[in-house]
């Protein structure tokens, strides 16, 4: 393998941070503090994760692997929840949506033999699935919030005509699911043409034949479609009722 980043070269590459800092100071962007905090956090978090993963991979224990996946899912749900202010039980809904979307997708990948149940494969793949599901759910929540606000009158009229809550909300729910899924679909269309995504780039970097590397990227494309669609649909169908009270009135 021709991977040659050592501490000295990392230290020298840190000069790139000075470029961003310099621009911030020169253009009075006021970002210098954020840049420093961001860089320090990135370095510390990644070093911790690096050593943690090294340990987990070495002990190769089923429960430790599952605990790590659980930790990833919880963090993803916590972040998705923040995009849904005003939605009650957003944490529980996000947890369920990310748990199911990650679980089903991982299950299919493992059963099909695409990945092996070893921590060095399960953990990074879970992270990719959960983070994409998280972004999709966050987008879907924002869409639900903005549509229930903008289309309030239309929802009220459907209710006044005797529509059930799902009939009154279905157009909004569908649009929110679409919003959650569309970045994944868009990137599936341009993958390889605009960006060489992380999975494939990483393998090529590590010296893997590009023709083999793309197989993994194809698998990633499939798994992200499944994860974002499952995550969005579960989250939207569980969250829309939150916009109504017990008397089936719009809050």
């Amino acid at each position: 393998m021709n991977l040659a980043v050592n501490n000295t070269s990392l230290f020298l590459a840190a000069m790139l941070v000075l470029v961003a800092l310099g621009i911030s100071l020169w253009q009075k962007l006021g970002l210098d503090r954020d840049i420093v905090i961001g860089v320090v956090r990135a370095v510390v978090q990644l070093f911790i994760v690096g050593y943690l993963l090294k340990y987990i991979f070495r002990v190769n224990n089923l429960w430790l692997t599952l605990a790590m996946i659980g930790f990833i899912i919880f963090n993803a749900a916590w972040n998705a929840k923040k995009r849904g202010p005003g939605i009650d039980h957003a944490l529980a809904i996000s947890l369920l949506a990310i748990f199911v979307s990650t679980g089903v997708t991982l299950g299919v990948l493992v059963l099909s033999g695409a990945i092996k149940f070893v921590p060095s494969q399960m953990i990074p793949i879970s992270g990719m699935i959960a983070s994409n599901s998280m972004v999709a759910i966050g987008l879907a929540y924002r869409s639900l919030n903005s549509q229930f606000h903008d289309q309030r009158q239309g929802v009220l009229e459907r209710l006044a005509l005797g529509a059930g809550l799902l009939d009154a909300s279905i157009a909004i729910v569908r649009e929110a699911i679409r919003t959650g899924m569309s970045p994944t679909i868009d990137s599936a269309k341009t993958v390889g043409l605009v960006s060489l995504p992380g999975m494939m780039s990483g393998l090529i970097f590590a010296g893997v034949d590009p023709v083999r590397a793309i197989r993994y990227q194809i698998m990633v494309t499939f798994m992200l479609l499944s994860a974002t669609s499952l995550g969005s649909i579960i989250a939207c169908y569980l969250a829309y009722r939150n916009f109504y009270n017990e008397q089936k009135q719009l809050k």
Partner: protein, 216 residues
């Protein structure tokens, strides 16, 4: 006399703002009531409470012998139908709107009935496939009204629905409402500011500063 709807000491409050005060109102089945009063007095709030679109803060509301709380709100709203002032139409065409009442009841649209309803309010069959963006304000209002009566409710609550119509169309809508009331026995309550409508009222009620005054 048996009341179809009976309100006793109904109050509505948002935070410390008192919008309706101790409203008592007996509405007999088959009534055709004109509701008036200054803007911001609480007329729409009162109708929305009766329509189960919002809930009263206190008091009792009896519909057809039972408290409003005992009904499933969805089924209740199919019997006590509220039509908004300046309604929004759904989807792309008039047909999308008129199919909606059928969709929510898991039924196929009865085109014959829909066309008759269009004719009754002075719209032609051609309107059915017209895009909603091409409709005038008066046409929109009439299409919205039809949505409320394709399945006849027991009570029809109309919030200034004739305000956007010209004299000719007002006449058409009035005649149609009268027919719904007299032939189909739909109890109607119509909010209006229109002097002619007020003068022609069978029964007049007035909401002033959150209090109801009923004139025989």
């Amino acid at each position: 006399m048996n009341s179809l709807i009976s309100l006793e000491k109904v109050n509505y409050q948002i935070a410390d703002q008192h919008i309706l005060h101790d409203v008592d109102w007996q509405i007999p089945a088959g009534a055709h009531i004109t509701l008036t009063g200054p803007s911001g007095g609480g007329k729409s709030t009162l109708l929305r409470i009766i329509a189960a679109m919002i809930s009263k803060t206190s008091g009792t509301l009896i519909f057809d012998g039972q408290p409003i709380e005992s009904y499933d709100p969805i089924m209740y709203r199919r019997q006590v139908s509220y039509c908004f002032q300046q309604p929004t139409l759904f989807g792309e065409t008039v047909a999308d709107n008129l199919a909606f009442p059928y969709q929510i009841r898991k039924q196929v649209m009865d085109t014959q009935r829909v066309v008759t309803a269009l004719n009754n309010v002075g719209l032609s069959e051609r309107t059915l496939h017209q895009p909603i963006i091409e409709l005038s304000g008066g046409e929109r209002q009439r299409v919205a009204l039809i949505r409320n009566i394709l399945f006849l409710p027991k009570v029809l609550l109309l919030d200034e629905v004739t305000a956007g119509l010209d004299e000719n169309n007002k006449q058409i809508v009035h005649a149609w409402l009268r027919q719904l009331n007299e032939q189909d026995h739909v109890t109607t309550i119509l909010i209006t500011h229109d002097a002619t409508e007020i003068a022609a009222a069978d029964q007049l009620a007035k909401v002033v500063a959150g209090r109801l005054e009923v004139h025989a």
